[in-house]
Amino acid sequence: MMRAWYLVREALTNLRVYRGSVAIGIVTTAFALACFGVFLLLYLNLHNLAGSLQRGIDVVVYLNPDAPEQTVAEVRRRLREEPAAVTVSVVSKAQALREFRDAFPDDALFLGEMGDNPLPVSFVVTVSPGFQTPESVSAFAERVEGFPGVAHVRYHQDWIDTLALVVSYFEFGAVVIGVILAVATVTIVGNTVHLSLQARREEIEILRLIGATGRFIAVPHVIEGAMLGAVGGGLALALLKGAFEFLRFELYASGWFDGLERILTFFPDPVSLLLVLAGMALGCGGSVFSIMGLIKTRQG
């Protein structure tokens, strides 16, 4: 108990004595983690967006405008048999016309003058969750396109494919940037700890003299690094949250992308915690890095 208290107190003393370099260490750690955090946020939101787009996938099957009743029934039956289709709803010629008129009131007049309704019967197929990967959706669409009487099949494949590609680039980028920033953070924290280690040389000599193990001498520095990293992580989180809320508000105020500000999400709590823990782990890593020799040497 007394020992634990001593070790923490030593760490706090080190942090206080070197507040200048500690502050620099915290700010740089925060900056590195915030950079990574921005990236992670972008990734998270893109991923969410891709997910929500994919979940909402409807495949629309247009029949030939002149397809007879019998063909409509046949296509409907075959669609229902498809394991990928959850619901199949029919949009009749009359319904299509109504929807068209609602969507484009100006052009409706022109369409009405044509006498015969030129719009085809279509089916809206909701894809079951098990088939919502880009590959299976396009396979499904291709198959349906081969049904007799089907004119063409439409879905947002290009969009989804592009998004999936971007997301995978982001995944790769996150790993690369993460590694670079992690190395930078470890180096920075290691430097800060190294400074206080230098300053504590005399004390370390005395500690050796009275039988302190390398571990005992090292622990305050590990605590120091961990605290530094955790505070840096917390600061990064605060910065990110601030910037995120600001951006969301601006987006809302500007009125662009109506509704986008509601889709945007910040990290869920566990991820926020993870960011702080990552800072802490990097801090620990940095200090362990600079005290490695200390633990092994015979007399210090």
Binding site: M1, R3, I206, L209, G211, F216, K296, T297, Q299
Partner: protein, 225 residues
């Protein structure tokens, strides 16, 4: 307690210790005498596991110090008290915090630690300075605090390197008396000094070191080692 067999230690071409062989039994009071540069500090550091000899073997409490792994050295040191030549205290910390440090390292309970620090400081006569910063003490007081720190974990062996080096005669006499008392209470004492007066006061076996060699041993058994 301590056995050295043909121990040599070189610093470059300079041999700080040369073929040193002797042994010290439990409960002895030994004075390591010799002029400056004779190798007294080196000898104590070798016993303490702070230097590795280039030749020879050292047994301290039946442990081969030269062969001890680095991680085991601290545990050996906890059985010894060491009073370094240039008394090393943490000047920013209080006397109490300086002396309690060995007990913190060993994980002694707070209440027990307080009792032992009190007893040690009382033994060296500075118990009234507990809350004072070590840096604010006089040289004699600092030397006493160093001794208090060395005996606070009740070592079986006390190594003192020139503990009277910076002190005037009266203070040196007091320190000598203090070491005699510590010895009388059962601790084996090995004291390095070149102060004739302290040597006379200590009234113990004298090992003479000159240029890294033992040139005389007031104890007749020395040859048998």
């Amino acid at each position: 307690m301590i056995r050295l067999f043909h121990v040599s230690k070189f610093y470059g071409r300079c041999s700080a210790l040369h073929d040193v062989t002797f042994h010290i039994d439990k409960g002895e009071k030994v004075i390591l005498a010799g002029p400056s540069g004779a190798g007294k500090t080196t000898l104590l550091r070798v016993i303490f596991g702070a230097e590795v000899p280039d030749e020879g073997q050292i047994l301290v409490q039946n442990r081969n110090v030269a062969r001890l792994r680095g991680v085991d050295i601290p545990y050996l040191r906890r059985t010894m008290g060491f009073v370094p030549q240039n008394f090393q205290l943490l000047p920013q910390k209080t006397v109490y915090d300086n002396v309690v440090l060995p007990l913190i390292i060993q994980g002694v309970k707070r209440r027990e630690a307080r009792k032992r620090v009190g007893a040690s400081l009382k033994a060296v006569g500075v118990e009234h300075k507990q809350a004072v910063r070590a840096g604010a003490l006089s040289a004699g007081e600092q030397q006493r605090v160093c001794i208090a720190r060395a005996i606070v974990n009740r070592p079986v062996l006390l190594l003192a390197d020139e503990p009277t080096g910076n002190l005037d005669e009266a203070l040196a006499d007091e320190i000598a008396a203090l070491l005699r008392t510590i010895h009388a209470q059962g601790t084996t004492v090995l004291l390095a000094t070149h102060n004739q007066r302290v040597m006379a006061q200590m009234q113990g076996r004298v090992l003479h070191l000159r240029a890294g060699r033992i040139v005389s041993d007031s104890d007749a058994r020395a040859g048998a080692a």
